[in-house]
Symmetry: C2
Subunit: 214 residues, 2 copies
DNA sequence: GTCTATACTTCGATAGAC
DNA sequence: GTCTATCGAAGTATAGAC
């Protein structure tokens, strides 16, 4: 028998996502989360032991889903360059679905994972691991030049996340006439990053002897 | 007559930098800032009207210094590709000097500039503007292919900032044995980004027509 | 400029009825 | 599972002496 609407725990998690993304762990208010989820505070504490447990549950769930999606791309049969394109589009699609993801990821990086337990940190680590796997596959297949997987993660994947996270502040800057120049749509930026990634990873034609890495 | 040590306002700003970087605006505690600066809370409020004013002062000062440094590189006589290398090294050097910069920048992006007034937002905007200027110069001189300056900022500059901001969480992940693979030093990553930037901006051979400047 | 002591507020969490 | 009411801790900011 289908429920007419989401149960309390799910509504609480959804409300928590909005609140934590906008204000961070310390800035988030349990009262606001409860109100937005249309439950009272006691109900929230009935389902989640504490603010911290709610936070960890949200992050673990989100990181696991992002990691799963990227691992599925890594495990597909496509060519390395194709996987890379799909991974970059994939993260943009993931953010379209989970709009709070970039803010929360950025905040946790800035904070050094201070509020996270081992399980949640492990879930977070699946994201760079999946991107690194795609790059390593490409390198092994000689479709990509030799690049440190973590370097690839930061130069290919991180810009997309930060670009999407930065939408509010760009809007704020535009509204106050503090920037000039043409706008840059999310789609255009995704295309730019796919292009940049291909160029960054393209094997050197004359590289079959050794890379003169500066 | 030289002071034996920094005056109170400077010590407060230095202490605030550490605290705000580690815990964010909401998580920062005025008591901790005062204690670290070796002043009492009343002294802090004597020099700064409020927690918010202290925060804005710190950020404005920091963004202005970062922007100045990048504008100096943009205004130098070097070739575009050389300027790009210097800008990437420059931001790494800036972070070595102002270690709190990446965390604070990331947090403000995540927060959409919520705590910032117009002046401080304007100071923040000088950073992408300076990077965009270097890219635009290169494009005009036909040393770079046509790339949206903001796209270049996010694909070249942001990764360095996030990589450096991510040092604590990488250390945490390593300590808990949640990552595998060789380490990647900050210097190696800077080199990687210089390389990636050159490749991303290299003009298409078919487009090379006019004589490159300088 | 510097201090101690404290007023005022907000927030996370719980008690206890239904 | 759900609610109202409230406690106790912690935090920002200020008063007022020196």
């Amino acid at each position: 028998m289908p429920r007419p609407r989401r149960a309390s725990p799910d509504r609480i998690l959804a409300a928590a996502a909005t609140e934590f993304a906008a204000r961070g762990y310390a800035g988030a208010r349990v009262d606001r989360i409860a109100r937005r989820a249309r439950v009272n505070k006691a109900m929230l504490y009935y389902h989640f032991r504490s603010k911290e447990e709610l936070y960890r549950t949200l992050l673990r769930q989100t990181f696991e889903r992002a990691g799963e999606r990227l691992r599925a791309i890594a495990a597909s049969r496509a060519a390395p360059a194709e996987k890379l394109d799909r991974a970059i589009e994939g993260i943009a699609a993931f953010v379209a679905e989970y709009a709070f993801f970039p803010s929360i990821m950025l905040r946790e990086v800035a904070e050094g994972g201070a509020h996270l337990d081992r399980r949640t940190l492990a879930a977070l680590a699946t994201v760079p691991a999946a991107v690194g796997a795609i790059v390593a596959q490409g390198t092994a297949a000689r479709a990509f030049r030799e690049v440190h997987p973590l370097a690839a993660y930061f130069s290919i994947f991180v810009p997309v996340v930060v670009y999407l996270a930065g939408a509010p502040i760009r809007q704020e800057l535009a509204a106050r006439h503090l920037v000039n120049g043409a706008a840059l749509s999310a789609n255009a930026f995704v295309g730019h990053m796919q292009d940049a990634a291909r160029r960054a990873l393209a094997p050197d034609p004359a590289t079959l002897q050794g890379p003169p890495h500066r």
